[in-house]
Amino acid sequence: MGTALFTVFATVACGAALAVVLSQNVVRMAFYLVISLGSTAGLFFLLNADFVGATQLLIYVGGTVVLLVFGVMLTASGPFLTIKSSPGDLVQAGVVGGLFLGLVAFTVLQVDWEANAVKLERRYGATSLERPGYNQHGEGHTTRSLGAALLGARFDKDLGRHREQPSTGYLLPFEIVSIHLLVVLIGAAYLARAKRRVSPSRDA
């Protein structure tokens, strides 16, 4: 079952990503991107990361919708609808990309994950997700733990563990990210504020 779902989602994700690369129309690219991201979210669900998946759907897809809007606004008019990229570029990029992919795949396959897992198991004990007594399986109960972790408390690490020192949470990064978002909000608004200064420089 899981395998079937994985196959579906993986194929859709990869195919859509490929379509993004290949298609020349911005809006179609955006469409394919949405598809890819959505199926990636499906993969996340398969990985019992419900919250991440939902966030992926909401934020990424919302963000992509915005991308879409801009793409349409900026390119829907005539000559910019498709900015063709030369096939030479495509070929060369494809070659390099293929090499890269092969290399990454090679690296991935080089690693013996089971042995690693056993080694890590011996050193750190069971992963917090599979530890007995802390059930995160079925229904993927990661949401509450994630919230606690973002608030600085690590149920998943500290509950039922013999630790002198409680594990560190993510309170500070969380705050930093919030501030960062605020800054980005203001900065983007400033950058994109309407100051239409048409420069007839090299634009036909």
Binding site: G53, L58, V65, L68, V72, L151, A153, F155, L159
Partner: protein, 421 residues
């Protein structure tokens, strides 16, 4: 018949009773669910369209459809559906054919799959997730994607305008929608719609809308935002018949056109049901003796009837809200797009933020005390959650009592010290 009623989930029933392998059981269950939902999915459209026309007629001092089928014209929608199905499926040459054809499906799929997380009654939910509400909103927000694609791919400026307006409107109205939806989540301490619903049992003053003044206001804000988020008047800028011929669906006809309206009426019903679940006590009648009569009885059938009753209650409540939407549509004039954006960004967002802060403060400073009746607030919830996890993790060490929400971090320290012993 009984074991079917008694079964937790359909797949469980199938695998237990008929010894199906789990995969097939799951597939079959999925099929069943989809069939149920599909059946249910058409219903609001039929009823809604008919009701809309009747209500519009009444409001405009007309009779509305009267001829088709009986004297209330209640077959009108069916007739329309038949006509639409017969129509030829065509698309303009200027259109981007692929997207033009895909767009309605996206809309329908998104608004349909939102129903997967909607509990129609106690435990009557297709997928009960920890992140149910979150996911539901996320998927619902995918609907706009289809609309933009439709508006763009039609290759007509009216459609494009409609799509753009819809995009702007949706992207900005997501914010207050999310914030107001988070308020009940914060109160309940869970995003699982089933839990949220079941938390409002008992007397009707346990409904979140009556919990404190902030939630009361939050409900109305939520309702307004949902109006906007599925382009109901007075926010229906996407299809502004008076300005843009038909908005994003100008170029559509036939079945693809009807998909949009299917989706629209379905999501109308969905957001209403969502509002009911979040604020208006879900499937509970609000009169405990009635509910308890069914729940406490030990016969499976009675409990099943109780769920049916809950289903009916939810339906009625949601229908009331749908009727309210229709009423508003035919009573209020349409806003200008800039007014729409102003309403959202300058008024609704600050208001919802304020309400969120207010509700939080209420929960923090008066934990467990509510406007009417008694109910443990957020603090109690999270404390219970921590307690639950504690008991799960370190079985007998249940002596620990999580004092309050703000102490969760500190409580983790306590865990460790306990573990140290």
């Amino acid at each position: 018949m009984m074991p079917l009623l008694a079964a937790e989930t359909i797949s469980g029933y199938l695998s237990k009773e008929w010894e199906l392998p789990e995969v097939w059981a799951l597939v079959a269950a999925a099929v069943v669910h989809v069939a149920l939902l599909g059946a249910f999915f058409g219903l609001p459209a039929l009823v809604g369209i008919w009701a809309e026309r009747k209500v519009a007629g009444r409001i405009q001092d007309r009779l509305g459809p009267t001829r088709v089928g009986g004297r209330f014209g209640w077959l009108q929608s069916v007739a329309d559906g038949l006509k639409l199905i017969q129509k030829e499926d065509l698309w303009p040459t200027a259109a981007d054919a692929m997207l033009f054809r895909v767009a309605p499906y996206i809309v329908v799929i998104s608004s349909f799959s939102a129903f997967l997380f909607l509990p129609f009654s106690d435990t009557w939910v297709a997928i009960s997730l920890d992140v149910g509400l979150f996911l539901a909103l996320a998927i619902l927000s995918l609907e706009v994607l289809g609309i933009i694609l439709a508006g763009y791919s039609s290759g007509s400026k009216w459609s494009l305008f409609g799509g753009m307006r819809e995009a702007a409107q949706m992207v900005s109205y997501e914010v207050p929608l999310g914030i107001t939806a988070v308020i009940p989540v914060m109160i309940a301490g869970s995003m699982n719609l089933n839990e949220i619903g079941s938390m409002q049992s008992g007397w009707f003053w346990n409904w979140f809308v009556f919990r404190d003044p902030f939630t009361l206001l939050a409900f109305f804000v939520f309702f307004t935002v949902t109006l906007a988020s599925n382009k109901r008047a007075p926010f229906d800028l996407a299809e502004a018949e008076s300005e843009l011929v038909g908005g994003f669906h100008t170029e559509y006809s036939g079945m693809r056109w009807s998909f949009f309206f299917l989706a629209e009426y379905a999501s109308m019903y969905f957001v209403s049901a969502l509002a009911v679940l979040l604020f208006l006590g879900g499937w509970w009648t609000g009169l405990p003796f009635i509910d308890d009569f069914f729940r406490t009885s030990d016969s499976v059938a009675m409990q099943y009837l109780g769920r049916v009753l809950g289903f009916a209650v939810l339906m009625i409540k949601a229908s009331k809200l749908v009727f309210l939407q229709i009423w508003i549509r035919w009573s209020l004039p349409r806003l200008r797009i800039d007014q729409v954006m102003t309403t959202c960004l300058k008024y609704l967002v600050p208001i919802s933020c304020f309400l969120f802060l207010g509700a939080t403060a209420w929960s923090l400073f008066l934990p467990g005390r509510v406007l009417m009746g008694t109910q443990p607030g957020l603090g109690g919830r999270v404390a219970d959650a921590a307690l639950v996890e504690l008991n799960e993790s370190s079985g007998s060490e249940a002596a620990f009592v999580a004092p309050d929400a703000v102490d969760v971090a500190a409580s983790s320290l306590t865990f460790s010290s306990k573990g140290g012993e």
